[in-house]
Symmetry: C2
Subunit: 722 residues, 2 copies
């Protein structure tokens, strides 16, 4: 039945918007303001924005010479283009379903085939399942049905303005902006196809303008503060990673006036740059060994000399066009340049790119000229064509690699209907690219846009180099996904469940009520795990040491103490997770960060310098020690006389942690029940008196959205008397 | 220092009570009424009761010929007598500590050595650790110190009458009654010693009276009801197993007028009874093979004929004295007798012994004559000496084996300071002995007394046989100790924690509010586990089937449906446990027991007869199925049209239960989050409509005293429409 419908498409009236004329280019160029106008105006705007995008994307496939171009992979790591042809349509259906703008699928089978092949953000792990692709005509029919469906939604679905992050219509813009990303990435795949598989298309003509490359030079970018802050009230669509706050003070640095041209890059190639591992970072060496590259991927060496592969053709090298390379090649060039010049040449950080942007005024105004939004044509252009301030191509022409792995800003949260857009790239293996290319449209060309790719990947991307001091460390982007670590992050810093107040805070508050006006100089949080009680103690003590046997746990406290966000996933149901982040500031603990010190240590064998404490907390520790008697028998040595030891434990003795013969209690001794409290009294009697307790303090550890450990910790306070 | 004190003992005035004269025998004979008189009278009574017991016990050791008798084991399965010499004193210290009548130990080392060697109720698993026993003199000094301590407590501790189960003074009576038990068991150990190790003592003289044995005959015991009911308000001390209620209607039966005499037993021995496995039960055969016994253990074959071993001497056989044997020998005798006579000869049940007691009037009066409480001497006597009604020795002379393994009465609970007195014997391997022996005193001679021993063990015990029909099944005595089973018993039938109401009850109440006045004939509780919801449903439905994959779980529901108590241990801390029991009646569910039927079954492959239901509950089931799609795809076949399926689950998908490809939800499907609810909607859509929900219902599973699982189960109701 589906194939019978294929002939209809030429007759449908909306096909008339296919040709990309100047008016349409303007429509497609910019992502709309989502707060302006009436609902009817908004419907009209989105109708045009959708149609220009959807149809522009289809027209890109006119660059394929035949059906073979749809089914042959252009690179081994990604699906063939037939997948991407269907994928952008399926994406609309999926997101509209999640937003409840529609309530049923268009085609269950296609929507399974076209949903996920390769996560566009984690390129290099293609699932090698056998796909049985449908025909191009079948997919076109499917696209037409989706096109009609989206138009129907735009025309008829209830619409309450503004369209913001929480509005169901966000899904529509998301679908359009998603297709714009694929417009660009599919153009790269077409460019990576064998020339025989592609053909020229009148809508996708490359520029031809080329001359001798300019001589690059370093210009100063003065010091300044970069402030990035996109809120939910911003009128323009954004991907999750753009929201939140970030600021940085950037020292003055020098940056190359132009992007590195093919001419400039040639010197590196001719200097044997691809043969000299010395210039390459370790990951770059691995890539070089794997790829056996000897020049940039779009350079073609012919007997008559160097040619340049464009999207649909090979042309004699345009030496004044930007060199298009991956991060590793760009980085190797910088290292070579550094060696050649003795200058601290490297790629800019993301912050430095923003500083450059601000310096040339692009934070407040659009560029007067830029090779982006398909405004000049379907290719790069000379690096000295589009001037922006003293520099060229700060935005446009090709993307520019940075030194910065993508990381979330403070306040980052995922969008519920697309929770894996960015999070899988928070792995310090995806570097940010900035500025957009000739085909970047809509969100991609916004100042706030942040896209990141694996460092070995190719886009229409090149680079500008800078001469500057050391890089600031990259903010952490790691999400704690280990089950136990995540559970403890939530246990210490997360939400409260069943009305049970935060355990660490509760313990410290209780301790303060017992300690009264005793000396509060030094405290020790032994078995500090993720460290919350360490920070809570530092509200009251001048110095607090957090010690845990597990170096992994310590990292969470260290991260927070350094002012960073602690990010972790929360298990929801099955494999589904939520994303969460907390900072000390949110918990009112920012002032404590310089009074804590975390270290790895063994409570049964403490380092000698850990001594002279006024207070020691051992929360949920004793029933996890391999030899609790060693701890109980020596801990007085670390406390000042009159100092207080606070023990809290559910006494969950398990042989996997503590051999049964070393349990403090919880067994029959000489025929009678001998509790852990009995054992504590016996083992501590020599140096301590029981000051307060026992008292039970509840705690809750979240395992999934619907499963929790709910426990009671018995708390006792012991004063050192001897 | 301790040895330096040994010379003091002869001089202390309380040694004057040592000799057992007639007055003291009366004092020791009966356990005191704990509700009578003034506190000062009570102190005087307990002082005398304690002293007569403590000193009588010490005098028993005068029967040992030398120190060697203290240190050589009389039987391999138990400690040497030095242990028992110290043990009864240590027991006082331990229980007084637990009752907080004292606050420190007398001797830490001795109290470790003498606390537990062999649990007197589980004889055959001696810990073969190396003991380094103190000298007899050292132990005597220790006993003297304990004696003085107990007297001081009796004389000075605060005393509020009455002394009942919850009164700290209960520990004092417990110590005394405990020592009386050891008076008897130690006398057996002395009797089992080699003759060379013992000696006659003027205080412990055996009777010499003996003549030709009478000819035994069967007398009728008329039918009647046995009612046993000891409450906490009873004025006489009791062990935990005596409390609670039990009643039974006993058909008329015949019982032997006399205990089986040595003469009567000789016929069995001479008939080759010990050589013919045919007469022995399996467990008896194992014992026979192990022991190589050829006659009763206290019979001694000499060249001049059969002798009888008494406590301190061997005498020519007293043929008219009772044969003393273990259960296996008694049972084999009955089987032989049955074969010889063609009559249904066996041992009496505990209930039949009580019926006999009632028949001869011993439920309302003490016997006018009985060989017990050391009234006649330190040995058995002829079986035709003490007449009680038409019978002889219904109480006294030797204990009488019954067919009944000890079990708890309804209402049984352990005493907190001695929680392992009886519970370890609830294993269907310990049979009750009744009636007491010549040395039984105090609690042991009460009508309510219930002692049980391993069936292969020796006491001063023999038997009477009965001719009667089949034995009634023994009430269950098993305590569920398996961790998961116990947790579920508590989850379904136990207490509520954190204010979360019983999950099963909550679900059924919710179901009733949703079902309204729909048909309520047949309901199915699928994955019923311990069965609480099955019973709760049976409040409303005529027939309820409870089905679970685990036959072990089913046993709990089956047990309760049969009217029995469900007994289980609760993990407290480490290895410590509490004991718990619940019945349907306590939960107001007694009326439901005949409307439920439990069976083992697989929710993914149900038996064909399970159909035609108006309501099906699947609580916390789907995420434990190996193939939930099979269940969801076929469950409509078991429901009437218009019937309702109720699903409840925390959706805790785990690969150990369900392969990931079979999860209903909780994963990314075609790139999007696909929840279990999404999956349920997809899989049930064909035959069901969502009637109500989703709604979360909390539940709590107790793991230890301080550790709980606290979860939320998502509940949905689905009406079958097709």
């Amino acid at each position: 039945m589906q194939s019978g419908q294929t002939n209809l498409r030429k007759d449908t009236d909306y096909q008339q918007t296919l040709a990309l004329d100047a008016r349409q280019q303007t429509i497609i160029a910019q992502t709309p303001n989502l707060q302006q106008g009436t609902p009817e105006q908004m419907r009209a705007t989105l109708r045009a924005y959708f149609l220009s995008t959807f149809d522009c994307y289809e027209s890109l496939f006119d660059c394929l010479a035949s059906d073979e171009g749809y089914y042959r992979k252009s690179i081994s790591l990604r699906h063939p283009l037939i997948f991407y042809y269907g994928h952008t349509a399926t994406f609309f259906v999926n997101k509209l379903l999640l937003a409840r703008l529609i309530d049923q699928r268009v085609d269950q089978n296609f929507e399974s085939i076209f949903a996920v092949g390769v996560d566009e953000m984690s390129w290099d792990d293609v699932n090698e399942a056998h796909y049985s692709w449908p025909s191009v005509a079948q997919v076109k029919v499917y696209r037409d049905r989706v096109r009609a469906l989206v138009l129907e939604v735009i025309d008829t679905a209830p619409l309450a303005l503004p369209i913001d992050w929480n509005n169901p219509w966000w899904a529509i813009i998301m679908g359009i902006e998603h297709e714009r990303i694929h417009l660009e990435t599919s153009s790269v795949l077409i460019r990576q196809h064998k020339v025989a598989l592609v053909k020229k298309s009148p809508q996708w003509q490359a520029l031809t303008q080329s001359a001798k490359a300019p001589s690059n030079q370093l210009l100063e970018v003065p010091a300044g503060r970069v402030v990035l802050s996109k809120g939910k009230s911003d009128p323009l669509y954004g991907w999750d990673n753009e929201y939140g706050q970030h600021q940085a003070d950037i020292s003055s640095f020098e940056a190359s006036q132009y992007l590195v041209s093919n001419q400039e890059f040639l010197a590196f190639v001719e200097a044997g740059g691809y043969l000299n591992f010395h210039y390459w970072e370790q990951e770059g060496r691995d890539w070089l060994e794997f790829s056996q590259a000897q020049q940039p991927t779009f350079w073609v060496k012919k007997t008559q000399g160097w040619y340049l592969r464009l999207m649909t053709e090979e042309v004699p090298m345009h030496w004044d066009w930007p060199a298009e390379v991956n991060y590793h090649e760009a980085k190797a060039f910088c290292n070579w340049k550094k060696a050649e010049t003795g200058l601290a040449v490297r790629l800019p950080s993301e912050d430095e790119w923003y500083r450059l942007c601000d310096h040339v005024g692009l934070n407040t105004a659009h560029p007067t000229t830029a090779n982006y939004q398909l405004q000049l044509g379907a290719s790069s252009c000379p690096v000295n064509l589009c001037q922006q301030g003293d520099f060229y191509d700060v935005v446009g022409n090709v993307w520019q690699w940075t030194e910065t792995p993508i990381y979330p800003f403070d306040g980052f949260e995922v969008h519920t209907i697309y929770d894996d857009f960015t999070t899988p790239t928070f792995d310090e293996r995806h570097n940010l690219i900035k500025g957009g290319s000739w085909i970047s449209c809509g969100n991609e060309t916004l100042y706030a846009a942040r896209y990141a790719f694996r460092r070995h990947f190719f886009q229409h991307a090149g680079f500008r180099y800078v001469v500057s001091g050391d890089l600031k460390p990259v903010p952490s982007s790691h999400y704690e996904t280990d089950k136990l670590m995540s559970e403890y992050a939530e246990f210490h810093y997360g939400d409260e469940y069943f009305g049970v107040v935060n355990f660490s805070k509760n313990l410290v508050d209780l301790a303060m009520s017992i300690l009264g006006d005793r000396e509060k100089v030094k405290a020790l949080d032994l078995g500090c795990a993720s460290g919350r009680a360490t920070f809570e103690l530092a509200r009251h003590f001048d110095q607090v040491a957090g010690v845990d046997f597990s170096a992994r746990f310590i990292t969470q406290g260290v991260l927070l103490a350094s002012g960073e966000m602690l990010r972790y996933t929360l298990a929801e149901e099955g494999d589904l997770v939520a994303y969460k982040a907390r900072s000390l500031a949110e918990l009112g603990l920012a002032a404590t960060q310089h009074r804590v010190e975390f270290s790895q240590g063994d409570a049964c064998n403490l380092k000698p310098q850990l001594t002279g404490f006024d207070f020691i907390l051992a929360a949920n520790l004793i029933d996890r020690l391999y030899k609790p008697a060693k701890f109980l028998g020596s801990i007085h040595e670390r406390l000042n006389i009159g100092g207080v030891l606070m023990l809290a434990s559910p006494y969950t003795w398990l042989e996997e942690h503590t051999p049964k013969e070393d349990w403090v209690g919880g067994f029959k001794k000489d025929g009678e029940s001998f509790t852990t409290l009995d054992g504590l009294q016996a083992q501590l009697a020599k140096h301590f008196r029981l000051l307060h307790g026992p008292q039970e303090v509840p705690f809750v550890i979240r395992e999934t959205k619907r499963k929790f450990q709910h426990s009671l910790s018995e708390v006792t306070f012991w004063e050192r008397i001897l």
